[in-house]
Symmetry: C2
Subunit: 346 residues, 2 copies
């Protein structure tokens, strides 16, 4: 697999979105004199009286959190989408808008303010997976909810305004751009090959074994060939499932286990609480059938060379398309070598 191309600038094709990424393998030697980030290593207490997500505390909206023990979800106090709103669309010449409605929720992963996913027990992460599944089903069942986006912004660098372990769910009437792109590519492949694009991709990656980071009976964690972010990864179920609603109890636990393994590797890479946005892409919930879809969870972490130097997706990336300096294979190599025991727990 180590063709000549991998040592020179080249473009790689993303089979899920149909877009290309520019890879510049020779460029890792570039000195960095630009902005560095804070390495936020501060130890947090298990309970913070000023945190609006800790059990028993009051929130910005005036409500009080229950004394929850495991996981806890509630409607976002500052939602970007509202369940009700005007229903007529707008068109005036070249200006075009549509009404949008939806429900935004916050999902607390643990009552313990000091934790993060890699530091939680598999049993407790399994509860998070269980709540994602429950929310996906409940929200997805509603009339005007045609897509459910589950995600986590981890770390101040990723715009997270509260370190309490939590994620979000934004669910809405329309199907977002990124999902439409992937739907199209899943569908084309399905119609042509009568098999799941990601099942076939997984098969190939497992054979090559160059970008695989971890696996268990039900899931594989890997760096996709077309990864954009320096340490971008993807968790894919081995079974061809359209959404997390299809997971059974054993699979939920296996999902939790691989999330823990992967996020421990992340933290160990630069011995820091590794920032990222993660998200689950799955079939729309508009009642139609999506046999072609294969759900997966992706991690987009910004760090490039250390806990304080990140990759900036600016300029060329904004105007032309994404660019990366280290190859997916180099990144996989770096992550593979790392211990599966968290550096704080050694």
């Amino acid at each position: 697999m180590n063709t000549e191309l991998n040592k020179h600038p080249h473009r790689r094709y993303n089979i899920l979105t149909g877009e290309w990424i520019l890879v510049s393998p020779h460029r890792t030697k570039r000195p960095w004199q630009g902005k560095t980030e804070k390495n936020n290593q501060e130890k947090r207490e298990s309970y913070d009286s000023s945190c609006y997500l800790c059990p028993g505390n009051s929130r910005a909206g005036g409500e009080t959190n229950p004394n929850y023990k495991g996981v806890h979800s509630f409607e976002n106090d500052f939602p970007s989408l509202l369940p009700e709103g005007p229903t007529d669309d707008f068109k005036n010449g070249l200006l075009k808008a549509e009404s949008e409605t939806g429900i935004c929720k916050v999902v607390c992963f643990s009552p313990d303010h000091s934790l993060t996913l890699p530091l939680m027990d598999v049993e407790d992460i399994t509860k998070v997976v269980g709540l994602w599944k429950k929310e996906f089903k409940e929200l997805g069942r509603k009339d005007n909810i045609n897509y459910v986006q589950i995600f986590e912004n981890k770390g101040a660098m990723m715009g997270c305004s509260n370190p309490h372990p939590h994620g979000q769910i934004w669910s809405q009437k329309s199907i977002p751009t990124e999902i439409l792109k992937k739907s199209n590519h899943f569908k084309d492949y399905w119609e042509e090959n009568k098999s799941s694009l990601l099942s076939d991709y997984l098969k190939q990656e497992l054979e090559l074994d160059e970008r695989i980071l971890a696996q268990n009976e039900h899931f594989v964690a890997l760096i996709p060939y077309w990864a954009v972010w320096p340490y971008e990864t993807m968790i894919v179920p081995k079974k061809h499932y359209q959404h997390i609603g299809q997971l059974n109890a054993e699979e939920e636990k296996a999902f939790a286990e691989i999330i823990k393994k992967l996020t421990i590797k992340y933290d160990n890479l630069f011995e820091t609480s590794f920032p990222y946005s993660s998200g689950i892409h799955q079939a729309p919930t508009d009642g139609k059938d999506y046999p072609e879809w294969h759900f997966h969870m992706s991690f987009y972490p910004p760090l490039l060379r250390s806990a304080t130097v990140k990759k900036f997706m600016v300029g060329y990336e904004m105007f032309a398309g994404p660019q990366r300096d280290i190859t997916a294979e180099q990144a996989a190599q770096n992550l593979k070598e790392l211990s599966e025991v968290h550096y704080l727990e050694r």
Copy 2:
């Protein structure tokens, strides 16, 4: 134009890319407890002996800068693209890559280390426009250069590692994703209406006069209806030009003048040196005809509410699609009210 929709969450359609943006006008009241940025107000000297862009200094690659007086361009010492490389493409099952070649250049806007575009004279900005034009034509003429991306990353927040006033040009063999999207939409409109999409859009915006920030005989600066970044703007030539190579001397000066006006407003908004990435989108240089293309320059600035609080494009934005809190009209109102004299020069 102030329909009911503008007060509620809605989606707006980008006529150039065919993508939608989620607008949440009610959400501006959200408190911000997250990361804040440094307000970099430090005064710089006109010459910095450690700057690799100042005249007469030596660069990372070992070369020495000439004692340039106006503008100066040279090949990037750490280019992400190289002129030569393997030429065969790669395909193995679902893995697909292509070789990519190109030329990366750095464009110094001024010998004066302390300046930025809004603080430069129109005459000196005109020299920058002139150099962009020269580079566009020279690079574009080369055999394997089919697209020329001119851009500037301004400010440490935008990954700029040197405050010396400068921009970059990455030119390459393949036509990047963002350009392909716009090409398609320009073309569809051209074939249907036999007129330029942006000419017609400009006509409509000038009539409505709600999002126009500045104009002169040859250019208009406005906030596009579908703007993504809080204070995203666009400069559009009134004439239907495919690329900057078509500008005459008078138009070059008018372009410089409107860049100065707009960037002064930016600096005045939060009384800071306003960070942004800017870029010029124009017709490919592959030798084909692109009568449908209408060149334009866009500014993508991250700041949201002050010199230290930016909008994070993370989580939902990465996995679903862009979202913004203030409407394009509110942003236009805020920018319109501002003086055209720079706050440091009052």
